[in-house]
């Protein structure tokens, strides 16, 4: 049993898939000899060669487009965005070309686009983004956001094996901050489309994903201690397609819901979740579904400002108390 970090688990997942399936390859900026800006692919080029670990020019649309072309031909590309913020440069390619290829033309496009996302790292407006909301609206894409070491590995492996294009958004705050025992040789394949109950509870549900899961768990612990509240935490893991069943099961159980995400509120993923709950479990609600999100501003980098703009554990605690008292 080895203790792995989130980053090591991601590496291991890609490594195993590349060993298992020679169709799998990686392309991106500085991923070869250098091993990537965060060393996620460190050692990959030495092991798998330059033809399977390809250093590209700075051209995200070309990286994603070339991945799509190779995927059509039966390969299984993993396209790395050096920071996920730069996926916006491939927005057209992803939403218009990649997402529609199967529907338009029956073209299989099994590919993964991944990269470091998220804030709480003083990265400022262009090295802290969470692009889930930008792609949630695109039929044809799948979106996964691992929160745990186990899922970092299990979701990348499932994403690589999936026959549809998958956006895998890893959280850079978690890279080296969380550790977990991962049994050697166990084949970990986290199912895409299935949420996880991160903590059982009966009074109130916090629905979230990625790094925010840990803030939710902290809040739940605190609420248990200080208020005797039993808080359930749902880690969605996959945002598209969304696991309505798991969401509604928890809503029917606790009747009170907080939806929390790190990204800004307006037009964010929490809106969609709220609409689904309202639609499918309205009668089960004892209180309005409330959103705890970042403020609607670009993310500033000064510590004082970033900490203010982003939702914190304490905000979840306060919001949960409000909701429990409703």
């Amino acid at each position: 049993m080895a203790e792995l970090t989130y980053l090591e688990a991601l590496r291991q997942g890609m490594w195993e898939e590349m060993e298992r399936d020679e169709r799998v390859f990686i392309l991106g900026e500085d991923i070869g000899a250098y091993g990537g800006a965060f060393k996620v692919t460190d050692g990959f080029q030495q092991k798998f060669g330059e033809h399977r670990v390809i250093d590209t020019p700075i051209a995200e649309a070309a990286i994603v487009g070339a991945a799509a072309g190779a995927a059509h031909m039966g390969l299984r590309p993993i396209a790395e965005m050096q920071f996920i913020d730069f996926i916006s440069c491939a927005y057209d390619m992803l939403t218009n070309y990649v997402a529609t290829a199967r529907y338009r033309a029956g073209l299989p496009t099994p590919m993964v686009v991944r990269g470091p996302s998220g804030g709480y790292v003083r990265g400022g407006p262009f090295h802290s983004q969470n692009p889930e909301a930008a792609f949630l609206h695109t039929p044809g894409l799948k979106i996964v956001c691992p929160a745990t070491v186990r899922d970092a590995k299990g979701l990348i492996k499932s994403a690589i094996r999936d026959d549809d294009p998958v956006l895998y958004f890893e959280h850079k705050y978690l890279y080296r901050r969380i550790k977990e025992e991962i049994p050697e040789g166990e084949e970990i394949l986290t199912p895409i489309g299935k949420a996880r109950v991160a903590r059982e509870g009966k009074d109130l549900t916090i629905i979230t994903w990625s790094a925010m899961v840990f803030k939710a768990l902290e809040a739940a612990e605190k609420l248990e201690q200080e208020d005797g509240l039993s808080v359930e935490v749902i880690d969605l893991r996959t945002l598209l397609p969304m696991d309505d069943e798991a969401i509604m099961a928890s809503v029917r159980k606790t009747n009170r819901v907080l939806v929390a995400h790190e990204d800004t509120r307006t037009g964010g993923v929490a809106g969609e979740i709220t609409a689904r709950i309202n639609d499918q479990a309205f009668e089960w609600l004892d209180a309005p579904v409330k959103r705890v999100t970042a403020h609607d501003v670009p993310l500033p980098y000064a510590p004082t400002l970033e900490d203010f703009v982003l939702p914190q554990t304490d905000d979840l605690v306060k919001a949960a108390r409000w909701l429990a008292a409703y």
């Binding site: 399977r52 059509h72 057209d92 529609t100 199967r102 397609p241």
Partner: protein, 349 residues
């Protein structure tokens, strides 16, 4: 072709290593392209075409010639644009498929999902474009990348317009192909116009082939209305790519004799310019040289024309009365899984 109708003896040596049969086949595709578009115009006028109709009138030569330079037996691949009907026919698309696409029939290759010639077939070796110009260059670079990674002796060919060369996607894709030395041939069809925009408002370069210099790859240039010249220059670039020479760019100098689409009265195009290029029609030119050189006989060419008309009669007749797609098919195939999307709740009421 029945050898009885063959000319006594060719007066001129056969060009570009092409056989008489190949020349005749190129003529067939040329005529088929021209005639199929003419049928489509009639159907369009009868409002049987759904969406716009895009003509390649005057550009059929470079489409057919360049596509013919690919080696289908080796699995070469292309990505056409809206005016590359000829290229698709060469690559194996059938008139019936084209008609079905333009009429949004249930049996059309995209099952009524995408318009006109926006369709492909991995087996026959072509991928349909999307509307967003330039995007197919990175995608075809990826196709070429798969050839290189698998050490397959295959070549990919992608078309780009004089206008589409201004897009960021074109730049990122061609640079990627160049630096990775991918077997990709990029064919720029300089037809003088991008919708209503003349090439000099699109770029300050005089020759679009000069853009190759920015990527460290060879840039070639040919008379786009000389089908044999187009074949020859493309063939050279294709074999260069196949033998590991990497990417290259070819400019075909041609002209868009019709408007951007049938609805466009092309008022902005000088009448004389159009007339001048009409005198330089690629079909007439090829027809003329086939005869004057003695590469083909008049009887052979007439036989091709008849064959084309018969094939189109059959295709149009078959297609016209076919049904449109059944509504429930609209929810199929967004994903491999789930294979079918659920209908919206309000449809169950």
């Amino acid at each position: 072709m029945a050898s009885s109708t063959a000319p006594a003896a060719a007066k001129t040596a056969l060009p570009a290593g092409l056989s008489r049969e190949q020349l005749l086949e190129m003529y067939y595709f040329l005529r088929l392209t021209r005639a199929l578009e003419e049928r489509l115009v009639n159907l369009y006028r009868q409002t049987k075409v759904i969406g716009g109709l895009f003509r390649s009138l005057g550009q059929e030569g470079e489409s057919v010639g360049s596509a013919y330079a690919l080696d289908r037996s080796k699995g070469d691949f292309l990505s056409p644009l809206i005016r590359n009907l000829g290229s698709m026919l060469v690559q194996g698309a059938t008139p019936l498929e084209i008609l079905r696409q333009y009429m949004a029939k249930a049996e059309s290759p995209t099952r009524g999902r995408e318009l006109n010639i926006h369709f492909g077939d991995l087996e026959r070796g072509f991928i349909g474009q999307i509307s967003h110009l330039g995007d197919m260059i990175p995608v075809m670079a990826g196709v070429a990348l798969s050839f290189k990674m698998r050490k397959q002796p295959r070549v990919a060919l992608a078309y780009v317009g004089d206008g589409a060369m201004s897009t960021g996607a074109f730049h990122e894709g061609i640079n990627f192909a160049a630096v990775q030395r991918l077997p990709l041939v990029i064919v720029c069809e300089n037809n003088g116009w991008a919708y209503s925009t003349p090439t000099h408002k699109q770029t300050a370069v005089k020759q679009l082939s000069d853009k190759a210099a920015a990527y460290g790859i060879p840039g070639y240039r040919a008379d786009g209305n000389d089908i044999v010249a187009c074949y020859a220059v493309t063939r050279n670039a294709v074999e260069r790519a196949r033998s590991g020479g990497g990417a290259s760019l070819i400019e075909f100098v041609t002209y868009r004799r019709k408007g951007h689409a049938e609805h466009d009265n092309q008022s902005y195009q000088p009448k004389e310019q159009i007339a001048e290029w009409e005198m330089n029609d690629p079909v007439d030119r090829f027809h003329g040289s086939l005869l004057s050189t003695g590469w083909s006989s008049g009887a052979e060419l007439d036989a091709v024309d008849t064959r084309v008309q018969n094939e189109l009669d059959a295709a149009v007749e078959l297609c016209e009365n076919e049904p449109l797609p059944a509504v429930n098919t609209a929810l199929e195939g967004v994903y491999a899984s789930p294979a079918v999307m659920q209908p919206e709740w309000y449809r169950a009421l």
